[in-house]
Amino acid sequence: MINFLLLILIYTGLYALLALGQNIITGFTGLLSLCAAGFFAIGSYTTAILTVNYGWSFWFTIPLAGVLAALAGALIGLPTLRLKGDYLAIATLGFGEIIRNVILNWDSLTRGPMGINGIPMPTIFGMVINPYRKWGYLTLVWIFVIVFYFLLKRLTRSRMGRALEAIKEDEIAAYSMGINTTKYKVWAFMVGAFVAGCAGSLQAGFTLSVTPNTYTFMVSVMVLCMVVLGGMGNHLAVILGALIIQLAAEFPRLLGLSSTVPPQFKQIVFGLILVIMMIYRPQGIVGRKKVNYDKFVGNETRRVAKKSEVN
């Protein structure tokens, strides 16, 4: 039981990373993307191929997995910049499926539907992080979540973050304010994909084998669900969203009911969550993070002092 709980928490961490990435693309910039699974897959396969075929250290494959996913992000971002809303969603959905199909059919590199087995367990300072003993890997994944949380918070609480949100709110107005909307939209895709790529890499180090059918459209939908449920444009909220969705998806098994509840149950739950949220709380459970600029950068006392001098 405790083992199963740890497993859920590890997956929650991986999904939290995916949700943090998706949040940059959808939550901040307002681009309805549905290819998180594609970026995730690129990350996983980068690590699998490099560790198994080329003997790379697991750790070095992580940043490369991020970079390759980011390049894929630019590749999808650039040609689809003119698309909005549903059209962008369909284009990115197609792109995610293309990635999965390439993986499925490029036998010489990916071993097709069989997938790649025998990924070595990651080691640190000569110690093996054995995924079967969960605690180590749980710590590793959540360290990544925390580090990315702070990095992305720093990145978005700046003129860049404001530019992304301006694009979400009104792209034409943002453009007329001197914001290079093209640049920022591609940038959002790249940053989001980078995080997803790293998550994929961590996933490969945990499961020690990768197969194409892990990276289906359903994964992208789940990740989008987490962002919508938690709150668009709020880093902490989407991590919470990841936790809730994971628990919702796994609670039949947690309660030992898995034999009586059909596997389609998950899909029904996600669908219900999305519909209920859209109707009752479109901004998510937590909603957009309000930055208190008066506290963050302002110096209220100085202004007050200046005013009272005048009087």
Binding site: M160, A173, G298
Partner: protein
């Protein structure tokens, strides 16, 4: 000296010629008006001058530089800012953030050397740059009397204040030339009076103002120079009293008498 002028500017949408062969100019440090009946092509002219749209033919010159076809985000960096006929605020963001976005390119350095890297590496540098943006934004909010409301979501402001916030956001880019597309539309008389004094104060800062407006009281009151469009063509220009007497203008607005 003309701060901005167009040469035979034309914009056709298929068969509809929205702007036709217009030679148009704005004098430095003036308040100028662009008027004409509905569908005359005023907004289209704005869009073609501010880079939101690309002219079919003709050219646009700003500070004696040809800016025809330059994209809008670059034009705003050259010193032209604008507002929109239908308010386009960043609705969910705070009043303060709206104006801070106006400071976007004033605070930026190049992508590689500057902000993005700094945002990750240097907490202090970022804080000081954010502080500049914040302080400047609050100065502009003070100027427009919106500072008290700075933490409100933009969408929660009263209508007249939303219109002025859009102007504040444009002014935060520190433009030489400010375009206002029907700034008084939907305002009550008190709000319109306030707007008129605001526009005068903006001009007193040394900013040239060009406005499209249907409220003739406002136009005749504050514009020194007026250009009239009808069916995409320039039919008259001059000072308010000349325009009021011009038979072509009267005809365009009232229709021809038999």
């Amino acid at each position: 000296m003309s701060l901005l002028y167009t040469k035979q500017l034309t914009r056709a949408y298929g068969g509809v010629i929205a702007v036709s062969d217009v030679d148009f100019s704005v004098e430095k440090n003036s308040i100028s008006g662009l008027i004409g009946p509905n569908g005359a092509g005023k907004t289209t002219l704005f869009n073609n001058v501010t880079g939101m749209d690309i002219p079919t033919s003709g050219s646009v010159h700003f500070n004696d530089k040809d800016i025809t076809g330059v994209p809008a985000f670059k034009i705003s960096r050259l010193g032209i800012a604008r507002t929109f006929q239908n308010i386009r605020l960043f609705k969910e963001m705070s009043v303060l953030e709206n104006v801070m976005i106006g400071r976007h390119f004033k605070s930026g350095r190049s992508m590689i050397s500057g902000r993005t890297v700094n945002a990750l590496t240097s907490y202090m540098k970022m804080k000081s740059e954010e502080k500049d943006v914040y302080d400047k934004a609050r100065e502009w909010l003070d100027f427009f009397g919106l500072d008290e409301a700075r933490n409100e979501a933009a969408k929660n402001l009263p209508y007249g204040n939303q219109r002025e916030l859009e102007i504040a956001r444009a002014m935060a880019t520190e433009p030489e030339l400010l375009f206002l597309d029907e700034p008084a539309a939907g305002m009550n008389p008190q709000e319109t009076d306030h707007l008129m004094s605001t526009i005068r104060r903006i001009r007193d800062l040394g900013v040239t103002v060009l406005l499209i407006e249907h409220d003739m009281k406002l136009v005749m009151n504050i514009c020194e120079h007026i250009t009239v469009l009808n069916y995409g063509k320039k039919i008259a220009e001059g000072n308010p009293s000349e325009i009021q007497k011009n038979p072509l203008v009267i005809e365009a607005y009232l229709g021809k008498e038999d």
